[in-house]
């Protein structure tokens, strides 16, 4: 730097790289290594620091391994093939004779289930609340502010305990369950609702679903091509929707029998006046409490992310759009949101990751997520380190997958320079 500044004024030609500059660099590097002692040379110090750090890490690992050896513990995952001999009630089928590996899979799937459903619902809630907060409607914006401030300023664990013990467990007992039309039963055992299940005729019906999808895709491609050519689509968007609905509906009546059958839950009285619900789909109290807790908590944060995104769009955009006769809905949908999304998506990714990782609080309210199942696994097998590696690896994989998907979305949303 010094050389460059010193070299330039001497140069009469004004060329960017004068000959004297070249000489100067050579001279500089030569003279400095001879002048500066090695213990003050930044390059040597850097190399030494990196070497020391590396040695520290290696020593730590070796130390951990030697401790392991000393205690006669062998790092092994062979326990995964052994029978778990405990029982899990939430998620896919599980018997005590199944292996530890399957128990872990149950936990992973339960975590993914609550995370995926939670992310979708939290996004909707956050988007709505974020827009409501900026709304001109006084009541709506104040309600949004109160919700956001209360939820963001209390710990999630406290909210989960409150939801589970003070709200959901206080629902009526199964014997006096609230019956919603359907019928759906709401009690402190959870929500049991009717659920469509595949019937025999489904194998004749699914080609119609495929056909509808294919037709819709063809229509969309035609729309795009004509729009690129003549500036407006030749087919109205209405026909795409009609295609998706009408073809399966026609198939429903052509196919003999019903392709889907409704599994309707019913209350059954067992011996000793104990009541059980059979059939339908069950949302357990624990799943419901955890899902609600995560959605309400993360929704408040997403609302703030959405608000910051909306406010980042210059006011002139809205005013210009209004001057051109756009309606309020159109302004939001066509002008503001597409620009705001570029600001919203990056912080949104970390909110999605937070939701996923916060789902490990499930253990406090008895939901069998990845972490809760792992706790049982390491207690029963004694394989603490191995199980913790599995826990960390699983959360890492889930989180990185979410990041990957969201980064692709983010890239597509960025301004395309033409």
């Amino acid at each position: 730097m010094f050389c460059r500044l010193a070299g330039r004024p001497d140069d009469p030609s004004g060329l960017p790289f004068p000959d004297s500059w070249k000489d100067c660099t050579v001279k500089r590097s030569g003279s400095e290594t001879s002048k500066v002692p090695f213990w003050r040379d930044i390059r040597v110090l850097r190399a030494v620091a990196q070497f020391v750090f590396l040695m520290g890490v290696v020593a730590l690992i070796l130390w951990a391994i030697s401790n392991y050896r000393q205690r006669g513990m062998i790092f092994s995952y062979s326990f995964l093939d052994e029978a778990a001999s405990f029982d899990l009630a939430e998620g896919i089928e599980f018997e005590p004779t199944d292996t530890y590996a399957r128990a872990f899979l149950v936990g992973v799937l339960n975590t993914i289930r609550v995370a995926v459903v939670g992310i979708v619902l939290a996004t909707l809630l956050g988007l709505f609340t974020g827009i409501a907060r900026l709304s001109g409607n006084w009541l709506l914006s104040k309600i949004a502010i109160v919700y956001i401030e209360i939820i963001r300023n209390t710990p999630l664990l406290v909210q989960l305990f409150f939801l589970y013990f003070a709200v959901i467990l206080k629902l009526p007992r199964l014997s006096s369950a609230v019956v919603l039309p359907g019928p759906a039963f709401v009690s402190n055992r959870g929500i049991v609702a009717p659920w469509p299940r595949l019937a025999e005729a489904f194998r004749l019906w699914w080609p119609f679903l495929l056909l509808a999808l294919a037709a819709a895709i063809v229509l969309i491609v035609i729309r795009r091509r004509t729009r690129a050519r003549i500036g407006r689509p030749s087919i109205r968007g209405f026909w795409v929707l009609a295609c998706l609905i009408l073809i399966p509906l026609a198939g429903w009546f052509i196919v003999p029998g019903r392709p889907l059958r409704l599994d309707i839950p019913e209350l059954i009285e067992k011996s000793g006046g104990v009541i059980k619900v059979e059939g339908g789909v069950t949302l357990s109290s624990e799943f419901t409490a955890l899902l609600l807790g995560l959605v309400i908590y993360t929704g408040a944060y997403i609302a703030e992310v959405v608000r910051s995104g909306l406010q980042s769009v210059a006011k002139g955009q809205t005013e210009a759009a209004r001057a051109q006769g756009f309606t309020n809905g159109q302004i939001m949908r066509l002008i503001v949101l597409p620009q705001a999304l570029r600001v919203i998506i990056p912080p949104l990714i970390s909110q999605y990751l937070n939701l996923t990782k916060n789902s490990s609080l499930a253990i406090a309210i008895g939901f069998l997520d990845l972490y809760a199942v792992s706790q049982t696994m390491l207690n029963q097998s004694g394989r603490v380190v191995e199980v913790f590696f599995m826990i960390m690896g699983s959360y890492l994989t889930i989180s990185l997958s979410i990041s990957l998907v969201m980064n692709i979305v983010n890239k597509r949303m960025q301004i395309v320079e033409r």
């Binding site: 930044i42 110090l45 850097r46 030494v48 620091a49 020391v52 750090f53 520290g56 020593a59 730590l60 130390w63 001999s85 405990f86 029982d87 899990l88 009630a89 005590p96 004779t97 013990f165 467990l169 206080k170 007992r173 199964l174 402190n188 055992r189 067992k270 011996s271 000793g272 006046g273 104990v274 059980k276 109290s285 624990e286 253990i363 406090a364 309210i365 008895g366 069998l368 809760a372 706790q375 049982t376 207690n379 029963q380």
Partner: protein, 351 residues
Amino acid sequence: MKTKWYVLILAALALALVLGACGSGKQEAEEPAQEEVSRLQLIKDRGKVIVGCNAELPGFGYINPSGEFEGFDVDFGRAIAAAIFGDATKIEFRPLTAAERLPALQTGEIDVLLRNTTWTLTRDTANELDWACVTFYDGQGMMVRKDSGWKTFQDMEGATVATTTGTTTEMNLADSFRSRGVDYTPLLFESTQDTNTAYEEGRADAETSDKSQLAALRSAMANPEEHVILDLTMSKEPLGPLTAHGDNQWNDVVRWVCWGMMQAEESGVDSKNVDESLSSSDPTIRRLLGVEGEAGKNLGLPADFMVKVIKQVGNYAEVYDRHLGPEGINIPRGPNRLWTNGGLLYPMAWR
């Protein structure tokens, strides 16, 4: 300048690591001081016996509203004091947590531990302790609502059972139902209180834990009479008094006082009829009460020590009924009946 700090911090870290490694290696257990004289002599000289007990388990060891220790385990401590000094009040209680209890005994802070402690091989050997006998056969039990009318595992087809994770409890639960081919739904929580709340609110049909724990939890419920602990057992948890390893004379005193109380129940001697029993012609009763034989002398106790114990504390049945029976936290006697009634209580021969 910054790089220097970086190197300095790393050096400090490395130093801390090395020191940490050395520190952990240097830990040495201090040898407990060898006692030449028996603990019994020490207690007699001191004038009171020091008992380690629980202060928060209703029925077994807790502090009652008037500030006194009370419970099943506590009464066995009183019985030992009555046997040595003829006075059940010459006793000092040390409330201990589960983590403190074994070290307190090993270091000699207490004379005897009476704190619902399960007799296991590891504790008996590696931890250098000696159990005197078993005063309560505990085991994993099942609590259900009374109106369910359930009596056995077979009745519980389709039930939801709440339990606490992290112990052998959930494994015993799975084994018990699986071996009988009964279908059930487990519900797992991290803390005992949460498990209990979920059960009490009706989220689960049943709750499983150690019976003594269940009974204590039930006694704290809003309507304890609505719940019942089934007369079935899923695991072995033998509880009893224990002393430090190697002092046989003191250990003998503890075990024979406990067995004496069981023998008194077997022979039909209790706190009300003990005076009349002194003139009994039954040789076992005469030996038990010190009218005949040399039981007291052999143990280093007064000849009539069992008379004092029975008069001031009672026999086993009286102690059980007072704290664990219908007047107390109400645990069915189950395996804690005398062997003559089909139970496991079998006092050794008093001769």
